[in-house]
Symmetry: D3
Subunit: 332 residues, 6 copies
Amino acid sequence: MARPVTLFTGQWADLPLEELAGRASGWGFDGLELACWGDHFDVDEALADPGYVDGRREILERHGLECHAISTHLVSQAVCDLVDERHRAVLPPDVWGDGDPEGVRQRAADKVKDTARAAARFGVPTVNGFTGSSIWHLLYSFPPNDFEAIEAGYRDFAERWGPIIDVFEAEGVRYGLEIHPTEIAYDFVTTRKALTAIDRREAFGINFDPSHFAHQFLDSAAFVEEFADRIYHVHVKDSKKTLDGRNSILGGHLNFGEAGRGWDFVSPGHGDVDLESVIRALNRIGYDGPLSIEWEDAGMDREWGAQDALAFVRRSDFTPSALAFDAAYERS
Amino acid sequence: MARPVTLFTGQWADLPLEELAGRASGWGFDGLELACWGDHFDVDEALADPGYVDGRREILERHGLECHAISTHLVSQAVCDLVDERHRAVLPPDVWGDGDPEGVRQRAADKVKDTARAAARFGVPTVNGFTGSSIWHLLYSFPPNDFEAIEAGYRDFAERWGPIIDVFEAEGVRYGLEIHPTEIAYDFVTTRKALTAIDRREAFGINFDPSHFAHQFLDSAAFVEEFADRIYHVHVKDSKKTLDGRNSILGGHLNFGEAGRGWDFVSPGHGDVDLESVIRALNRIGYDGPLSIEWEDAGMDREWGAQDALAFVRRSDFTPSALAFDAAYERS
Amino acid sequence: MARPVTLFTGQWADLPLEELAGRASGWGFDGLELACWGDHFDVDEALADPGYVDGRREILERHGLECHAISTHLVSQAVCDLVDERHRAVLPPDVWGDGDPEGVRQRAADKVKDTARAAARFGVPTVNGFTGSSIWHLLYSFPPNDFEAIEAGYRDFAERWGPIIDVFEAEGVRYGLEIHPTEIAYDFVTTRKALTAIDRREAFGINFDPSHFAHQFLDSAAFVEEFADRIYHVHVKDSKKTLDGRNSILGGHLNFGEAGRGWDFVSPGHGDVDLESVIRALNRIGYDGPLSIEWEDAGMDREWGAQDALAFVRRSDFTPSALAFDAAYERS
Amino acid sequence: MARPVTLFTGQWADLPLEELAGRASGWGFDGLELACWGDHFDVDEALADPGYVDGRREILERHGLECHAISTHLVSQAVCDLVDERHRAVLPPDVWGDGDPEGVRQRAADKVKDTARAAARFGVPTVNGFTGSSIWHLLYSFPPNDFEAIEAGYRDFAERWGPIIDVFEAEGVRYGLEIHPTEIAYDFVTTRKALTAIDRREAFGINFDPSHFAHQFLDSAAFVEEFADRIYHVHVKDSKKTLDGRNSILGGHLNFGEAGRGWDFVSPGHGDVDLESVIRALNRIGYDGPLSIEWEDAGMDREWGAQDALAFVRRSDFTPSALAFDAAYERS
Amino acid sequence: MARPVTLFTGQWADLPLEELAGRASGWGFDGLELACWGDHFDVDEALADPGYVDGRREILERHGLECHAISTHLVSQAVCDLVDERHRAVLPPDVWGDGDPEGVRQRAADKVKDTARAAARFGVPTVNGFTGSSIWHLLYSFPPNDFEAIEAGYRDFAERWGPIIDVFEAEGVRYGLEIHPTEIAYDFVTTRKALTAIDRREAFGINFDPSHFAHQFLDSAAFVEEFADRIYHVHVKDSKKTLDGRNSILGGHLNFGEAGRGWDFVSPGHGDVDLESVIRALNRIGYDGPLSIEWEDAGMDREWGAQDALAFVRRSDFTPSALAFDAAYERS
Amino acid sequence: MARPVTLFTGQWADLPLEELAGRASGWGFDGLELACWGDHFDVDEALADPGYVDGRREILERHGLECHAISTHLVSQAVCDLVDERHRAVLPPDVWGDGDPEGVRQRAADKVKDTARAAARFGVPTVNGFTGSSIWHLLYSFPPNDFEAIEAGYRDFAERWGPIIDVFEAEGVRYGLEIHPTEIAYDFVTTRKALTAIDRREAFGINFDPSHFAHQFLDSAAFVEEFADRIYHVHVKDSKKTLDGRNSILGGHLNFGEAGRGWDFVSPGHGDVDLESVIRALNRIGYDGPLSIEWEDAGMDREWGAQDALAFVRRSDFTPSALAFDAAYERS
């Protein structure tokens, strides 16, 4: 469909935007999905400094790059989470503050609202990110869950995100939750519940990333079709199961990239994701937004991989048919 | 091998021991693995009342039942866990106390020590149970784990269980940890780490239950062989994957028995566990202890199921060969 | 669930009912599902002779057999079919008449109405059968179908069966269409369309037979759950795929039992049907009607097979759980 | 083998030959397999107008394109078929005439004879097409087939095609039946029967198209080897099974391209056809004719797809070895 | 088919026939296939002592046991083999003699001829055994085989077995070669070649044993059908692949029963052999001879296993249908 | 990793080095792994003629080609083998001599020593080859192996190769045994035994070739990791299983390239070898030597194939990551 292929900058935050833009442009990307960390896109500056967003735009344009979305994965994770030391490592100091969990959650929510405002100012229609979850730790029901506590988790999500969605609506920007373990929604069932919890408000949709579905044995294309009206943005990432009877699908408390895990992230096209089925599903639902490569592969050089991934996506992203199959077959 | 086939009483705690013993005996079980809850086996009474263990024994013997192990799954879970409301529902009031987490953990540890003492008094060589885990909630590394925190979790386990193991050693009783999600050890990698953390002390081994391996895509027989010298007790339970592209292997925050899960527990012989391979492995390592049916199947009547399971285990538990294959083939 | 296990008599029509009842009773069946051919159940006599149904009932009762349904597969097939010589071989002469297709269809419809009346008189709540289909021959769209013709096929079905359903409603009897290739409904999609075409009238439901699903690669349990409120009767039959790269799933214009087919019917438990999943689904939807063995296996002696099938169904039909999984696990 | 790669023009009949030739040439095709409909190749004109075939040839040569075969799929389908309204949509008016089935069949047979004559005049050695079948609608034997009727269908085929083959023999042209559901031959069994029915006359062979084999679970390479001496032409097309437990392999009376089917046609290289195995088989039997891409994919733009398919076939069509494997390994 | 189920005595040669007959009879076997080693059946005595065969028969009859075949696996192996030390361990001293290979081969051939004569005297129609092979060691072609040497191996087989077959013909006894690695025939290809080499003489057929096919990934039922007219006797044995990425299908030079092999023999019903498919194939070809259990499972007690195997074979050996599937379905 | 991609010249020995070097260079190879046969690398001349190695080097350098290894597969095979006529075809006349097996073995051992010396003189660090095996013919244990004979085979290997390894150590050259059926080591188990037999001396390691693992159902990547410190050289070759129920995995005594085998060698990327997993494993163990294409595919033109294989290896050989996955994800 000749959709724009962009690079999500989250895994490149060690590089200044100027440098990364030069490389991505040289590799042939159409644009960048800017992470709101590193120096890629600073929400506070965007709101404080009238010239900031123009400056960011100028860098992109100079390199011939588009921007369709900015991403607040790190901050948004704290909105519903049971906050702990891990959050300190990824949150801006002003959001972390004294680290008191409820304070962190509220400051994170405020920052996500500001991100909507900054996106509007920057002129991008979508902010991608996470939600966190107050119930993720209840994943395996032992000691037996009080399942009313699960319901309460969805209510907590709805209460915390309602006011955020208000701001997105007001700004005319959409939020794309990346369906992902550790979030309020990570599969079909939980996505249904999460969308219901917020009354399927239109400003809150999905940043679809099939790499999180493959290791859960979920059908990515079926997900795209079921949630067609909420697919606001698409990540292209891949994961691969490495199950040999000794590696657990649950991962063994091992870091990504360590031997012994039952699955791991790999460069697009190198794993279990059936991208063609996803593309066909996106064609059917009429999605014409960007395919944004979120590149993560602990076993591959990222520069080699980014270019390999771009080529893979380009050759996978075909245009759907404009005419019915048998139309041309008939006499006339 | 004509191993004794016992019934773990944990899922029958609503029935008095007297009644359950009658039924189990009638169905043909060889013995019971007594849960330390319901009225099946009361640790405090066993220590306080000199006649208690004889009374329990009398009930069993009257029904022709053996007892090879008692089980402290509910209390032991609290030893390392981040304690929350769910524990209140399964802990004895004196262990829960005021519910302050650290206090609960310490009282749980004390109770497990008492369980060792009670087992010794009762004359059973094994106590089965869990450990809990201070790091289970870090299962999926996002926000990115500080993996030093994982290491700290194993040290916490070792510190809390060291003194407990001392008591087991002193009493001449062995602890069998049921390798299980939510515990300090739930797969090959974590079992290796847990055993290493306690210097592979002999009093601490494994209550092996293959139902927790099948849904993790782990090879139960290979586990038995790798940890041959620590297989102290065996549960026979089964689980079945129900992956259809819409059900996640992670379970969708759904209770056991609910539609939409990617796996569930089922009666032995009705799931993915390859019991014959497990039996062959147990034969190879020379395990001659009980096969204890822990019966859980949300879709089957438990009385029907217990008898079905017993018949299944009886016909699966064959004796290994006493002579080499070709010995009889040769001339002479 | 201790559902009654019955034998569908359609494949035994060469035996008089008296003789078949004796054998079935001796093998241990709980009842018979009487075919409306052979001498098993004669619709015309049932309506004409006030003592007929009592006589049938007497035979059954003398052998200790129940009857939950009668079956009109052969006549009902002609209601919508493009009638040809094959129908002559299976229709009663008075339905075939001069063989003019439209006349045959109307006489078949009348006979199905009479069958409802006879069932009412006989006191059985269900009549099983087929519908035929005016569009089955359009299965593969070449020459390209005008898909409006497919829609017309469903309208034809609704028009022909509407008046029949009226009679069923009036008589308080339900019709169970066996979802089956050559019928108006043979899979999920066509069942949805067929039920919609008749406005999901309650008197028209499904005689569920998983043997027709397995060779279509359909999930029988999922079908039971989707159409839960229309599962009125259940056949237990089995089929097995024999695909080796040379046998087509379409069957090669070969008769059942001939070598070279890509699938064939086999005795229950000898094929691809996952009966346990079906039983669990039936348990979930609360179906408590008969499990009626329709025995067809071209490679097995039917007497050996009927007994083998009965034993298989008995040991597969377990009762669902009456209590929640963890209920008994908890303290107290 | 550097076989010529041609484009079958049947799915492009909405484009004038002049325009299509320009595009195909620009994409790099070696030639066209001309459909005898649209304006691509007109059999009547070829016989009536001495300059017609030169004109067609001139267009092709101007674009550097070869022609190895012409195709009469639409007319030839009517030769044996039970003719209905669907045929009217694809037949030339003079073949359809008054639509009386037997008249249509005879006029279709005459037109296929003329197609042989036109092919000879045009200088191509092969005419591809179908046969139709008087027994296709008997695919599933219910009501039970009289299998003598199946035999009669093969005799009908032989009687209708005998005189046509006479003309092909006389003209020195070969007919290539595309083995395909709805034809007299659609798998191994039926191909054996069809070839036997016409005494394996050499003028009647096969246009092999693996896309019709994959969804029948047939081994395309084995077919090529079994019918090696009758493989006269090869189509490269692909199909993909989309079986998820709810989609039937029989297709649900759904059109190609609709969601819910259990399989569909896809662009070469995007489906289940193992083209490499087919190429190896073609190499073994010494086939050196064209690989003609019949492009059908309801989910892909056909221009994008035609080029993608061409590239795929080029890189798949390797030359077989001219020397034995170990020859060069040996000493000296 | 109620075929007789016999026990092959080869793996029980440490027990005297009297004792084994008592046990086998007690377990419910119908008969014994007597090994020509141990004290079970002595070829020399049978020829030398007129009362010997009556004595053997008397033992069998006293225990209600039939005998359909005797077996000369150990001696016959030496007929074509490159004889080495391993043969000394399994050959009678008079066959081994001085161990000179060619002498051993000739004496083994003479003994097999005597076995035919003894079988005739004993009144059994079949002698089972091996052939050995002069080319087995050329299994993997490196250093590259001169494939003319392979052909020479089949000629050697034909030359050595021709005179043996003459004796079998003269005695009216048939030889059943057990298709097996290390023999002149071990799969489809080599069986075709071996039978061709001896001009498919009728006195030389097959003792079919599916356990040797499963680990070669061969289709046992297809073999039965291809060689239908040469299936003279059937062994029921099983084997199981244990491939986990570290165990080679070639076996790692490990003995049966050792960990680390990629496959091993197991008790019938415990492995990869699809006995039902074999039974259906045997039914189709009309085989009504014995099903002889050759029991080998290095991980199971043989007494437990023999009984388990007998029960398994009894419930697997069903009678084929005597009437066509739809015959009873039709009206009348 | 931008490892050098070389071409093993063994299958091209019919071409003079000069000509082959020109072609390989033109195709883009980085170097050649020279076979010690044909005219590619002559061990005797290298030792006898001071200018020989410079001449070889000059040819390579003129074509821009590197050389990392030479190969002595044909001669080294004879060191432990039971020598027969097949060896005569592949051995130099001076090694074959009078063909007396023990003499051949000793002369072969001497020649391998000379090959180490020649390699040192030529300046390459590695000599690849085989070992032969005195026990390969005992692959299938019937007549039952005396497994002490297997042990003796490893001792024979150690005794014959010890003095050879001495020379390699002295010359500072390493030997790379290609793990391969017919050698002393062909899978995990036998590699462990072989390395142990020579006390894991460092001068003796492995030339890893995954094509020999795929048809044994072995995990190539796991092998690389287990024997990480002995992976001295890597061949890229592929093999494909062609199991259809009639083709044996043992090969049917058929030559490579013949129909009917259960597996065969194919050009890299066309078979079952998962090269990406191998590359990831090589990355993990830090292997930075050549990837040497040993090209064998009986169904493909070798010139077409060599280029296809080179392109495949180039795009498969990616560089591992230099930084941890999450490093760049974190704040700041």
